[in-house]
Symmetry: C2
């Protein structure tokens, strides 16, 4: 129950209708007796550079979840950014230090890596193809690199985007082998769809599924209640898979820790959430 | 339960700890199945002129409740103001028109007048003394004038404040008799404490209670769970009284109508509220 003592986590993006965080965080806060609430704020892109620093100055500001279309724009407004933010050029979590400085993190990739790791997929030493190098694809690539992947393949229909990410990764991780220019999944131990392909009915496949190796672990960022056509095709070929919402639930404990709320598990969050997948 | 579809009423002021609106509006919204939530936002005075217009541009903005210390500052940010706002120079409710214009209203006074009227006190043709001519005192005076009071006495330890309000009232209401300079309650049909005297234990009385006429109706703006010492003294002298929270609950139906949520009653709000008086 909201009162004048309640702290606010601003969930900033537009449109807000597809937001899931309120239905995941708020039941957990309530179950734990924590007087904080995630509130959707449908901020227009043109207003965001002015709005973000002002929201962060509210006395009862507890943090911000940054989503589309602000994940890149927010980086320029921060006083301190993590390596993942630097590599991706994008950020999805902001907190305010006691001295007022804004600290940014990017947890999309951490959720993905935590999820596949718990499913028995070893990232250290592995090879991984990431198709789609926008915000979330970059984050996954950065987290794979941080988790010790040996080889990353990057592909995007916008070739410059993949090249930019490759350059950032090579600079941050000199021992990592990075290649670009192909979405062929053959020969990769981990294959990730980090494009929006699959959000709409009738979308084309993000890559040639007939080339998927049955030994590959295949993951997805599209968050659907049901398995996407891409994951269904991967499963049909014998691949182990991870659905998009696993990335979501696996990353939230990392956010909560970042905002200072201690530790929890993806399972606890899933059980309490009032949204089901 | 908050989701991405939830509209937000920004409750802006600082500090937020004493805010009551979330515990009154939110249970009502929930009981009515309205997907709107009042959220406290502890905005510093220095940030308010920039923050207010940006909050109002959020796509899911449903309105703003403006409280201390922003009630005066907000007036300059509005595109359209009511007569009450013009007279008081203060505003406590803002909504956004479909074309983006910001409309301001001031309901503190309306709540006071609705409350005493329902207690059988006739305002039309009456004489009323308002002690304290800050935001809420000005609002009460403006609403008394709008309700047809014949004579108003205004007093403030800051004499210029009372004079300014008197000038505004005379300009808006040429047939109203307005006097200033005395807090003597003798001879007034309605007597209002609109000062903060009574908020703290041991505060002096806002006026000489030994001069209260037993036939006077005495009201109060200090919101305490219990009767204030001032009201207790008035009651002891035989006066009928109205406690501060009646003003609060009586004004909320006016706000809800202003924000477009239809009609309700002070009783329904009081029954649903999770804060008790």
């Amino acid at each position: 129950m909201i009162s004048g003592h309640t702290r606010v986590i601003a969930h900033i993006g537009v449109p807000t209708e597809s937001f899931k965080a309120p239905m995941i965080y708020n039941p957990w806060f309530e179950a734990r007796g924590i007087d904080t609430v995630v509130v959707p704020m449908g901020c227009e892109a043109v207003d965001f550079p002015a709005f973000m620093p002002l929201v962060a100055r509210l006395r009862n500001f507890a943090g911000a979840l940054i989503t589309m279309p602000h994940k890149v724009a927010v980086v320029d407004l921060l006083d301190e950014i993590s390596t993942a933010v630097r590599i991706c050029g994008a950020c999805n979590a902001v907190r305010r230090d006691p001295d007022g400085r804004l600290i940014g993190e990017m947890f999309d990739g951490e959720g993905f890596v935590r999820g596949i790791t718990r499913k028995g997929c070893e990232v250290a030493g592995a090879s991984a193809l990431v198709v789609g190098t926008g915000g979330v694809g970059s984050a996954i690539a950065a987290s794979m690199a941080a988790a010790g992947a040996a080889r990353l393949g990057l592909y995007d229909i916008n070739a410059a985007s993949a090249e930019r990410l490759a350059t950032n990764l090579r600079r941050s991780c000199p021992f990592l082998e990075v290649t670009t220019g192909s979405s062929d999944p053959a020969g990769w131990e981990i294959v990730v769809n980090a494009t929006p392909m699959g959000m709409q009915e009738g979308d084309p496949m993000p890559l040639d599924v007939t080339r998927l190796d049955p030994a590959s672990f295949v993951g997805e960022v599209v968050m659907k209640r049901e398995e996407t056509a891409f994951l269904a095709a991967a499963k049909a070929r014998g691949c182990r898979i991870q659905i998009g919402t696993d990335m979501l639930f696996e990353q939230i404990p990392a956010y909560l820790e970042f905002f200072g709320y201690g530790t929890t598990s993806a399972e606890e969050l899933r059980q309490l959430a009032t949204i089901r997948y």
